[in-house]
């Protein structure tokens, strides 16, 4: 056993000084902002490492592997195509083949719900780490981004050939799709970050999210076409996910109808929300850890 003695280590550089007090971090916004940036930089390697771990483990233990990313939207599509074809549900004109409409809609919607649930999911799965070790907490959120991007990439790889098969070949607009993915990640995460702190304390939040999302899907043009009048039309119009789904679908399928100004407004709002959510996340983490059951 070669256990070399390291001897006395002369302090190489000025030693970092950390101070813990009861004062809220928000008391010193300058310091908080600097440490946010520093922690974000420090968490990159850990984020990659955690994301790789989770992705590897996820697929090593599965036979269908990457196909699972596609099975959910596909089965939803099949169900709605059946409902529409049998006349149980009659969807008004969508401007494209209904299967294409539903497939693109559910795919984008699923990406959104995943992005929204990622922060809480990441924190919940790492309770044990959070309670015992000190590391930049941003790493958990970042590694959630990486996993989400990976899953989104897999979905795209499968949906694009599927679109060709269904006869609605995409055009050059497909190159804009990464923008919509970024928008979805941004919006989902900004909401998710707000939900996560409370969700860590009360499991009710985690149970409520799917219920709310289910309802939200029906007032978003995911499987239904945009209603042109009435109360439903108002709901669809004020729904911030409407421009995202509509624009994403238009770019995927290569049709007109992108809602760019609305999309820009929503993204701007989400960006502000994201920054606020980050501050909330940071300043509440230590409060949550002491109350967490881990």
């Amino acid at each position: 056993m070669s256990e070399q003695v390291r001897g006395t280590v002369a302090p190489k550089e000025p030693m970092p000084i950390t101070v813990y007090t009861p004062a809220s971090a928000l008391r010193d916004p300058g310091l908080m902002f600097r440490s946010m940036i520093a922690d974000l930089r420090a968490s990159r390697e850990l984020a990659w490492s955690l994301a790789r771990r989770d992705i590897k483990a996820q697929y090593r233990q599965s036979l269908l592997g990457y196909l699972w990313a596609f099975i959910m939207p596909l089965s939803t599509t099949a169900a709605w195509v059946y409902l529409n074809a049998s006349g149980i549900v009659k969807v008004t004109t969508t401007g494209m083949a209904y299967p294409v409409y539903v497939l693109t809609g559910t795919m984008l919607w699923q990406m959104f719900t995943e992005a929204l649930q990622t922060p809480l999911g990441q924190l919940g799965a790492s309770k044990n780490l959070l309670a015992k070790l000190s590391f930049p907490r941003e790493a958990l959120i970042l590694s959630g981004f990486i996993k989400w991007s990976f899953n989104a990439g897999v979905k795209l790889l499968i949906i694009i050939p599927a679109l060709f098969l269904l006869g609605d070949a995409p055009n050059a607009q497909i190159l804009l799709v990464p923008i919509i993915l970024l928008a979805i990640l941004l919006i989902g995460t900004s909401i998710g970050l707000f939900i996560a702190p409370i969700g860590l304390l009360y499991t009710d939040i985690g149970r409520m999210i799917p219920v709310v999302l289910q309802f939200a899907m029906y007032i978003t043009p995911v499987v239904f076409a945009m209603p042109s009048e009435g109360f439903a039309a108002t709901l669809f119009r004020i729904n911030f996910m409407t421009p995202v789904i509509v624009t994403g679908r238009a770019w995927l399928v290569g049709t007109e109808g992108a809602m760019l100004p609305e999309l820009a407004v929503v993204c701007g709002g989400a960006l502000v929300l994201l920054l606020l959510g980050w501050v909330l996340f940071r300043s509440t983490m230590s409060v949550l850890i002491e109350r967490m059951s881990a």
Partner: protein
């Protein structure tokens, strides 16, 4: 001199709540206050108590502070605050330098992935770069003694192997200015334990260490200073380790437990050391003194009884049995009535610590237990040194034969 203070703790306190639902509600209130930038108050809300209260200390490089106390004394909470996991409700903590912790070994391990993959993950959770691991991975594997299993999924590891791997990753890679240890040294078999202890000693030379443990021999052999905590407060902070350990044992709550058929009972148990009677309330005696017990028992009508006296350690594990016998080596049979028995217990060769008696009285023919008193007459043994073992024998050794060659 002042520059070498690596940890500075001033009046640190922390509240906890007894009730989960209330605790969650307070958690929400704390989140709100945090966001609004309101400071925390020193007032206890209903159902709250001080888990840590008014702790002060400073620690320099090369010092090792032992935090001892019984469960719930606030040691781990204190460590969590030092590590920045939770915020103090009052006071101030200043940390100078890199912090390393041997806590939660193997954190972030994924059972499906191989040991090699997990080494990298674990290291990145500890804030160490891939490059650093690349340089030392062979050393880690060798330290953990898992050469043959390095590409096997960790889920097929025995618990001992997992712990060894977790320890090896952290212990080989960290080079901290400040080191936190929480009950992690008692892992694996004795070979590995010794390896761990040696490695920790190496790390200690260049860092300030806070060490939480219930293991008094470890505390004695590692710490330069001990703080005894009780109900969140520091009740003693001293460099005299023996005094602190003794104080720690003195905090133990002793409860007498009585079982058996009830046809006999212990009325009294008095101790004398070197012929001098000791006080009743947890006396302290010196290692090496002669101990004598005077035992008064009562036997009910129709019983003939035999008595065994046992000295037990703080965990109520019996250490020595002293059967109450006559000079021929037969049990003394006791008929109904009250009896006073004088029982020589011999020289106290017990390791420093807290002990108590178990007295068992049984029917001489049927062996039915008439009564068994546990936790009787607790006493402390004081010694200048605390050892690993249960017993310590002081003897005088001589050097025989040829003198060591280097003296020629």
């Amino acid at each position: 001199m002042e520059e070498d203070v690596l940890i500075k703790v001033e009046g640190v306190s922390k509240k906890f709540c007894r009730d989960l639902k209330t605790s969650l509600r307070y958690g929400m209130a704390d989140v709100r206050d945090e966001v609004l930038g309101r400071p925390r108050t020193m007032e206890l809300r209903p159902k709250e108590f001080w888990a840590v209260h008014g702790i002060d200390f400073e620690l320099r490089r090369g010092e090792c502070l032992g935090l001892v106390g019984h469960n719930g004394a606030g040691k781990t909470t204190m460590l969590k605050m030092l590590n920045g996991l939770i915020k103090p409700d009052a006071g101030r903590i200043e940390i100078h330098g890199q912090v390393g912790a041997l806590i939660a070994l193997g954190a972030g391990f994924n059972p499906i992935l191989t040991a090699r993959e997990n080494i990298y993950i674990n290291a990145s959770v500890l804030g160490l770069s891939k490059k650093r691991v690349d340089e030392r991975i062979d050393e880690i594997i060798a330290f953990a003694e898992i050469e043959d299993f390095i590409d096997m999924p960790v889920q097929h590891f025995s618990s001992g192997m997992t712990v060894r791997l977790g320890f090896a990753v952290a212990a080989i890679l960290i080079e901290p200015d400040i080191l936190f240890l929480d009950e992690v040294l008692a892992v694996g078999d004795i070979n590995f334990t010794i390896k761990c202890l040696n490695r920790v000693r190496e790390l200690m030379r260049t860092s300030a260490v806070v060490f939480v443990s219930h293991n008094m021999p470890l505390i004695t052999s590692f710490c330069t200073r001990v703080m005894v905590m009780d109900h969140g407060r520091s009740v003693l902070d001293t460099e005299e380790i023996g005094v602190a350990v003794n104080h720690y044992f003195g905090l133990a709550k002793n409860t007498i437990q009585i079982s058996g058929s009830g046809h006999a009972s212990v009325r009294d148990l008095l101790l004398a050391a070197d012929g001098v009677a000791l006080e009743i309330d947890t006396p302290t005696l010196q290692q090496g003194q002669e101990l004598t017990a005077t035992l008064r028992v009562r036997i009910e009508e129709g019983q003939t009884a035999e008595v065994n006296v046992v000295i037990a350690d703080a965990t109520l594990t019996g250490l020595i049995n002293i059967p109450v016998m006559d000079e021929r080596g037969d049990y003394i049979e006791l008929g109904p009535g009250e009896h006073d028995l004088q029982i020589p217990l011999g020289m106290v060769e017990l390791n420093a610590g807290l002990y108590s008696f178990i007295v068992a009285i049984r029917n001489a023919t049927s062996n039915v237990t008439l009564c068994r008193h546990q936790g009787l007459q607790p006493f402390r043994v004081h010694a200048d040194q605390v050892f690993w073992t249960k017993f310590v024998r002081t003897s005088v050794s001589k050097v025989l034969g040829p003198k060591p060659t280097n003296e020629q």
